[in-house]
């Protein structure tokens, strides 16, 4: 996508927002008298104040509850584990311990060192007096392999042909190298000839078409996708149960006697959103601190941008879906009713989550996946994944954000209407056709 197209998209989005906003403001309201200008200003101030009050209550209630504390702790531990354990494992698996039986040719050490360097392994070589002593060290896991001479490599367990771990690779490569050295020696080549043979340059590869672009798998993206899904599910569940609790406990009638429906729902979205942002920031900060402490690869390259982008899209995704869940909550009085309403609405969310995980794992983004990055219900997973794959630039990224904001505005209008018409209907699940009638 070109920069000019991205700019055109942003401008188009802004025009749509302006038009919808003007139409919405012109719409007459049944319960509102004509207000003077000063009344309107006072009303606007009161609106903000009420929304903040509702938001503050939501924040206090969440902070008092155990759910937030426990979930934050569990997620932080999981994130730290996901960063620290692979790093520790990678440090452990990058080491290989070789025992050479006394009397073996000295060239073995050089061959082993060259093989280890090629695989990025740290090699530690020790000498054992006999083959039996070497086998004993293998049995007690003091060494990884024993070499007696150019003809024999002994390991505790034969590496499987499908085992791609560096240690297994080292055993196979060292065996090949020793075999080659033995063959060279048997052929009677001079050291110079043997060296030329060992360092032969490959021939040029000429391709008729360019190779498919394949990016490396980005673990940061995968962590971001999983975190976004887990956190978003939690926050939207809070919205759903919060709205449902107000409806089923009938407190909604007391609230709506003094507060407008839109103020109430906006306060709830804002309050839970503030908690979500704080929790998300805390988790990302924890991830960065943990990564910095253990020297994890998630701090390298564009990984910090991927994390920042995941956090941004977590917030954008939350705001988008919170309206959907609030509307669903207003139509139900029990959790089973709410779940059956919510499920079809969250199908795009689940599809996008699975698709994003698969794309981040494969390293290849299909055309369809790129299109989904501009579709508000799926952009929250698709766009950060594209960032992780270096498959998107700033312009298209901002265009996607703008489209998402427009989509959120439109979905909020629909959800607010549903909420207003459904929240005071009690005595069972509200059906879609009921929403066409006045309350």
């Amino acid at each position: 996508m070109t920069r000019a197209l991205a700019i055109r998209l942003v401008i188009a989005a802004l025009v749509v927002v302006a038009v919808v906003r003007r139409r919405w403001r012109r719409r007459p309201r049944r319960d509102q008298p004509v207000a003077t200008r000063s009344d309107a200003r006072a009303s606007s101030h009161a609106n903000r104040s009420v929304v903040l009050l509702v938001a503050t209550r939501e924040i206090r209630q969440r902070l008092r509850g155990r759910v937030l504390k426990v979930s934050t702790l569990v997620i932080m531990l999981a994130v730290v584990a996901a960063i620290v354990l692979p790093t520790i494992r990678s440090h452990t698996s990058s080491r290989v311990r070789l025992a050479v039986v006394a009397g073996a040719p000295a060239s073995i050490d050089a061959l082993a060192a060259r093989t280890a360097t090629a695989l990025g392994l740290h090699l530690r070589v020790s000498t054992v007096t006999t083959t039996s002593a070497g086998k004993a060290d293998l049995t007690t896991n003091r060494v990884d392999l024993v070499v007696t001479d150019h003809s024999n490599v002994i390991v505790a367990r034969a590496p499987s042909p499908t085992d791609t771990s560096p240690a297994a690779q080292f055993v196979r490569d060292l065996a090949n190298e020793l075999g080659t050295a033995r063959a060279v020696a048997a052929a009677g080549l001079t050291p110079a000839q043997a060296d030329a043979l060992a360092h032969a340059a490959p021939v040029t590869i000429t391709a008729l078409s360019g190779s498919g672009r394949r990016h490396l798998v980005d673990p940061t993206s995968i962590i971001g996708i999983i975190l976004t899904f887990v956190l978003l599910s939690q926050y939207d569940q809070w919205i759903l149960t919060g709205v449902m609790e107000e409806k089923s406990s009938r407190v909604i009638e007391v609230l709506l006697a003094t507060v407008k429906p839109l103020q109430l729902i906006a306060g709830k979205v804002l309050g839970i959103g503030a908690v979500a942002l704080a929790q998300g920031t805390l988790i990302v900060t924890t991830a960065l601190v943990a990564a910095s402490a253990v020297g994890s690869s998630i701090l390298h390259g564009t990984a910090p941008w991927v994390l920042a982008s995941s956090l941004l899209w977590l917030v954008l995704g939350y705001v988008f879906y919170s309206w959907v869940f609030a509307a669903a909550g207003s139509m139900a009085e029990r959790m089973d009713q709410a779940q059956s309403l919510v499920f079809p609405l969250t199908v795009p969310l689940i599809v996008a989550y699975v698709y994003a995980l698969s794309t981040a794992s494969s390293g290849n983004a299909s055309l369809l996946f790129k299109v989904l990055a501009y579709f508000p219900p799926t952009a929250l997973f698709a766009m950060p994944t594209l960032v992780g794959l270096h498959a998107v630039s700033v312009g298209p990224f901002l265009a996607s954000v703008a489209i998402d904001l427009v989509g959120t505005y439109l979905i909020a209008q629909v959800a607010a209407t549903v909420y207003r018409r459904a929240i005071l209907r009690t005595g069972g699940r509200v059906r879609w056709r009921d929403l066409t009638r006045t309350r």
């Binding site: 049944r30 319960d31 509102q32 008298p33 009303s43 009161a46 009420v50 009050l53 509702v54 209550r57 206090r60 209630q61 609790e245 107000e246 406990s249 009938r250 407190v251 909604i252 009638e253 007391v254 609230l255 709506l256 006697a257 003094t258 507060v259 407008k260 005071l424 009690t426 006045t438 309350r439």
Partner: protein, 299 residues
């Protein structure tokens, strides 16, 4: 035309085929406790919800001191809905304070007023408890405190006495009367007609969505034919009076028979009939009770 206080004019509301309100008009003056009566399904709750914009009207208007009731005006109203509405897991004090703030009180004023009302209603020691841990009666008190915390100009209470023990009824009744004495309008619905008679100065009775009776308790009690209250030893059902010509049994309660005599019917003949059943311990002329006013209005 009355313009002060709450004025409901020509309210109309239909739910499908059911007409809930049909040209209902009445007013609620400040400084007066007004009882709002009617059989189940008469439209009382719909009317109260309409005052708070909780149900849409097909027609009619509602004003407060001559101004259409909108969100700003409603800030000065207190409401207690029929189905009690409180956050079950929120602490009592926090809940009342929050609702006070939603009605425009500052945080400090809301806290101060909450403390005062919880003390006044005898639940100050439960301020830190969750609402769901309270008894029904105490939850009712919390609900009333929530309606009163912002010192509203008008209180609208849907069945505030339902399910309360006599002490609870006395406490809440005293608060309603006290609020009216402070010049506030109080409109409450109830099926406990004796309490209505004790607490209210004015009564509005509706049936099938329309006004059937309206007036002060004194006016309504004095209007219509007087009642003869008769007590006869050993008589519990007043069956002896049912067959007397020109006599209608208005009410039988606790051994007391209340009779309405047609014009021209001789009361001494009734007394003689009662004496034939047993020793007459009471035979006096009484005003109409509210229960009798109600029955005769919605018959």
């Amino acid at each position: 035309m009355v313009t002060s206080g709450l004025v409901l004019s020509g309210l109309r509301r239909r739910f499908g085929d059911l007409v809930a309100l049909r040209d209902l008009s009445f007013d609620v003056a400040g400084g007066v406790v007004t009882g709002f009566l009617g059989p189940n399904g008469a439209g009382k709750t719909t009317t109260m919800r309409a005052v708070f914009g909780l149900t849409d009207l097909d027609g009619g208007s509602i004003t407060w001191n001559g101004r259409p009731v909108d969100a700003t005006v409603r800030q000065r109203f207190g409401y207690m809905p029929e189905e009690r509405g409180l956050y079950p897991t929120m602490r009592v004090g926090d809940q009342v304070e929050y609702l006070g703030q939603l009605h425009g009180l500052s945080s400090l004023d809301a806290r101060r007023s909450t403390q005062q009302w919880l003390e006044r209603l005898g639940i100050a020691d439960r301020a830190q408890d969750r609402v769901e841990d309270l008894s029904h009666g105490n939850q009712q008190r919390v609900q009333l405190a929530s309606a009163l915390v912002h010192e509203p100009d008008l209180l609208v209470l849907d069945e505030p006495l339902a399910g309360l023990d006599p002490t609870g009824i006395d406490d809440i009744g005293a608060v309603l009367v006290e609020q009216a004495r402070l010049g506030r309008g109080v409109l409450f619905s109830s099926h406990q007609l004796d309490q209505v008679e004790d607490l209210c100065e004015q009564v509005v009775i509706i049936d099938h969505g329309q006004l059937v009776v309206r007036g002060t308790v004194d006016e309504l009690a004095s209007a219509g034919p007087p009642r003869w209250r008769v007590r006869v030893d050993g008589d519990r059902d007043g069956s002896w009076a049912a067959s007397l010509p020109g006599v209608t049994v208005s009410e039988v309660r606790g051994g007391e028979v209340r009779l309405v005599l047609d014009p021209g019917t001789d009361s001494s003949a009734v007394l003689a009939a009662a004496s034939r059943v047993g020793r007459v311990t009471e035979f006096s002329l009484q005003r109409r009770r509210m229960s009798e006013v109600f029955r005769e209005a919605v018959r």
